[in-house]
């Protein structure tokens, strides 16, 4: 079926135009598209339904002014950026998504989804407020099933347990490949430049063929292994906290430029969620999915012991010299948790720095100075 282009298409830059044309042709080939925001979205459901799942998180400040015509200024830039892209029709994936799946992670996102529901077919999956109380697991299982039902109805497909199990096997394979790549950084010195590693992990999400994506991760791993390791021993940094796609250059770029190397991304799209494998042999695949996603140590959960357990283990595993906790402005849950992470790092005797920033460039210089000073103390 022929798809429409957004009304301002002609004014878009070349890269954006190509993005629109690429996904337009995917849609015209008959494939359905679902957008998602968060690592809590169980992508296996979409894989099993043969629906293309694409990440919609806004990582640029460009559309924030659009969002601020309807949303408060004082909320997280990721939430504003994402909504702004939808409103301004500047994100090809949001624009062409047949449905969007949200999840009740943080206040700003869950309330933003209500507005997004006026622009797109929106389905919001409920997460428990914490994963350790007895109600959490049954709620999560039920919610994964409800999402599957919605997808079945929406696209007129049937999601069999068998297909779901197969999808989980494939996703696990993908996760294992990425983890193998991330684990290369346990080497001393760590072989992969920080920005490059992040950009690769981010771009691979947009490879719409999971088999090809897995192959390209393996290929990269083999290539890095074959190359001679760099000589300099850089300061080994763990990045934890919020998603950093929108502040990559000013934070990770500054770490690189000042003699540091990110050896471990503990935050959102990093190792934290990627290591949450699904038990594909479990008797009930829905329960296995719920279990896997409940292991993500996100600060929206209360309490959130998993993050606090994970950090010291990763510090040892990746031989981390210092921890940089990056929070996006007005991300209440990660901001409040900085106190606990700081205490934790003091406890294990590792230097810690908390950086609060947003998608603007007004603090680029300040962040660079602070990171330089932090790295000097290590």
């Amino acid at each position: 079926m022929e798809q429409q282009l957004p009304k301002n298409f002609e004014a878009y830059a070349e890269g954006r135009k190509n993005g629109f044309l690429k996904i337009k042709s995917v849609k015209e080939s008959g494939r359905n598209v679902a957008g998602y925001f968060c690592t809590f979205a169980p992508l296996e459901i979409f894989d099993a339904a043969n629906v293309l799942a694409v990440s919609l998180c806004g990582m640029s400040g460009e559309t924030i002014p659009d969002a601020e015509t309807e949303l408060p200024k004082n909320i997280c830039p990721l939430v504003k950026s994402s909504y702004g892209f939808a409103l301004a029709e500047k994100c090809p994936y949001t624009y062409y998504a047949d449905m969007i799946v949200g999840e009740t992670t943080c206040d700003a996102k869950k309330k933003m989804y209500e507005r997004l529901g006026k622009l797109k077919d929106m389905y919001v999956m409920q997460l428990p407020q914490g994963v350790d109380e007895a109600y959490a697991k049954p709620m999560m299982v039920k919610e994964v099933k409800l999402l599957a039902k919605y997808v079945e109805k929406k696209f007129g497909v049937t999601i069999t347990d068998e297909a779901l199990r197969k999808a989980a096997v494939k996703r696990n394979e993908y996760r294992h490949a990425l983890v193998e790549l991330m684990e290369l950084q346990t080497e001393v010195p760590a072989p992969v430049p920080s920005v490059q590693l992040y950009k690769f992990m981010d771009s691979i999400k947009f490879n719409f063929d999971l088999d090809a994506a897995i192959a390209s991760v393996h290929e990269l791993v083999a290539k890095i292994k074959a190359e001679k390791a760099p000589k300099e021993n850089e300061k080994r940094i763990m990045v934890t906290g919020c998603p950093i796609g929108g502040v990559l250059d000013k934070v990770v770029g500054a770490i690189e430029n000042n003699g540091g190397r990110v050896v471990c991304y503990e935050n959102c799209s990093g190792i934290k969620a990627t290591r949450c494998y699904v038990d594909t042999d479990a008797p009930d695949i829905y329960e296995a999915l719920a279990d896997a996603y409940m292991k993500i140590g996100c600060s929206v959960m209360t309490p959130n012991p998993r993050r606090m357990e994970n950090i010291p283990n990763l510090v040892n595993e990746f031989k981390v010299d210092g921890i940089i906790d990056v929070t996006l402005q007005t991300c209440h849950t990660y901001m409040i948790e900085t106190r606990a992470v700081r205490k934790l790092c003091e406890g294990i005797g590792k230097p810690y720095m908390s950086l609060e920033t947003d998608y603007s460039h007004s603090d680029d210089g300040q962040i660079d100075t602070r990171i330089a000073a932090f790295l000097e103390t290590i």
Partner: protein, 394 residues
């Protein structure tokens, strides 16, 4: 004592309730009675009071010294109610927290649920998990199990038994208390209103601190009677031929910003006829089903219908909001949200959309407990009220 004097003396008692409650708590604590502190109606007071315990509210409404102190541990860019509550407990400036044997939190908003994790280091706490979605099909099971867990935690900790009978009795008492507030809001329907918004606010705030349940019932009943009587005699807060512009105030966390907002609105000649949002009309109108054989289920069912902005989607609020605009013959809506309260702030836009559809003037005021914006807030409210007055007087 004349009716006017008696009404005034009840109003004074309500106004002083908070001050007197700390002495009451001290006495209760010395007698060995259990005092439970909580923040939000989602921690059902029915369950606490059914156990024979006193329930006090620990929400902080002061800036100094609590907020600056809290900011040594919490982000500055956070809701002032959360900071103030935490700061008062940290600095031991909240007598109610001091006398509380247990503090009950609820996972309403991001800021509160994460603040509670820190509070746990200072006080004994129990956190009730509230669902995110108010759809009963999806959430009732988990929510009900959380209320059972809460009841059992109280029983175990304090070695008591909370029977269904006690719960049912407390439900009746609390329904009655809610009905007083609902009837008070009804007085705002009169033209001119039989109570001012400032008076209503005093009563609402006092509600939580009138710990002698019988006295509260007697005074509430008498207060309502007198207000109506005085109005009939033309001795209400407004002259009979006075028709101030009628404001609906919407929002949450208002008690910390009364001087800047509520008081200013009425000082400028408008009348707040009803409140919507936290402690607003909708909660007061919805009783708990007294005939439900399972009282915990009945309690869960009511609170899942509380139209708070932490719920998503919050369709019940929008539906009732439209009704309130008609029923109270509102001339304009002032939505007041406190700094960094994302749920109410984002949802305020949805209220604005409804107002726009209905040609209802709407003003959104974002403010904070900290001083500095009084002048700016006042100017905006003043311009809004002048516009409403011009519209009303044709």
């Amino acid at each position: 004592m004349s009716n006017e004097e008696e009404f005034q003396s009840i109003m004074d008692e309500f106004r002083d309730a908070k001050k007197n409650a700390s002495l009451f708590c001290k006495g209760a604590s010395e007698r060995g009675d259990v005092v439970i502190g909580s923040f939000c109606q989602y921690a059902p007071t029915e369950i606490i009071r059914a156990a024979g315990f006193y329930n006090v509210i620990l929400c902080g409404f002061n800036y100094d010294p609590a907020v600056p102190l809290a900011e040594t541990e919490l982000p500055a860019n956070l809701c002032p109610l959360i900071k103030s509550s935490y700061g008062n407990i940290l600095g031991k400036t909240c007598p109610f927290a001091f006398y509380s044997d247990l503090i009950v939190g609820e996972t309403t908003c991001d800021g509160k649920k994460k603040m509670y994790e820190m509070l746990q280091e200072l006080k004994q706490m129990h956190v009730i998990h509230l669902p995110n979605v108010p759809d009963k099909e999806r959430s009732m099971e988990g929510w009900e199990s959380e209320l059972h867990r809460f009841k059992e935690a109280l029983e175990e900790r304090f070695n008591v038994k909370i029977t269904d009978e006690q719960l049912k009795n407390t439900i009746k008492t609390l329904n009655k208390e809610r009905s007083y507030n609902a009837r008070m809001y009804e007085l705002g329907k009169l033209d001119p209103p039989a109570m001012t918004g400032v008076q209503m606010r005093n009563v609402l705030t006092a509600e939580y601190f009138m710990l002698d349940e019988k006295n509260k019932a007697v005074k509430s009943e008498r207060m309502l009677e007198l207000a109506k009587q005085l109005w009939d005699e033309g001795k209400g807060p407004y002259k009979k031929d006075e028709h101030p512009v009628r404001i609906l105030v919407s929002g949450a966390g208002l008690d910390g910003v009364l001087d800047k907002t509520i008081n200013v609105i009425e000082e400028l000649g408008a009348a707040i006829v009803c409140y919507e949002g936290c402690c607003g009309i909708m909660n007061m109108r919805r009783p708990i089903d007294e005939n439900d054989p399972d009282p915990i289920h009945a309690i869960a069912d009511k609170y899942l219908e509380v139209p708070c902005a932490v719920m998503s989607p919050n369709a019940r609020r929008f539906e009732q909001f439209r009704n309130v605009l008609d029923e109270w013959k509102v001339d304009g809506v002032i939505s007041i949200t406190v700094h960094a309260c994302s749920p109410f702030d984002i949802e305020s836009r949805a209220l604005e959309d409804i107002c726009n559809e209905n040609d209802m003037p709407f003003l959104h005021v974002r403010t904070d407990y900290s001083p500095g914006d009084e002048g700016q807030v006042r100017t905006r409210i003043e311009a809004f009220i002048e516009m409403l007055q011009a519209k009303k007087n044709g």
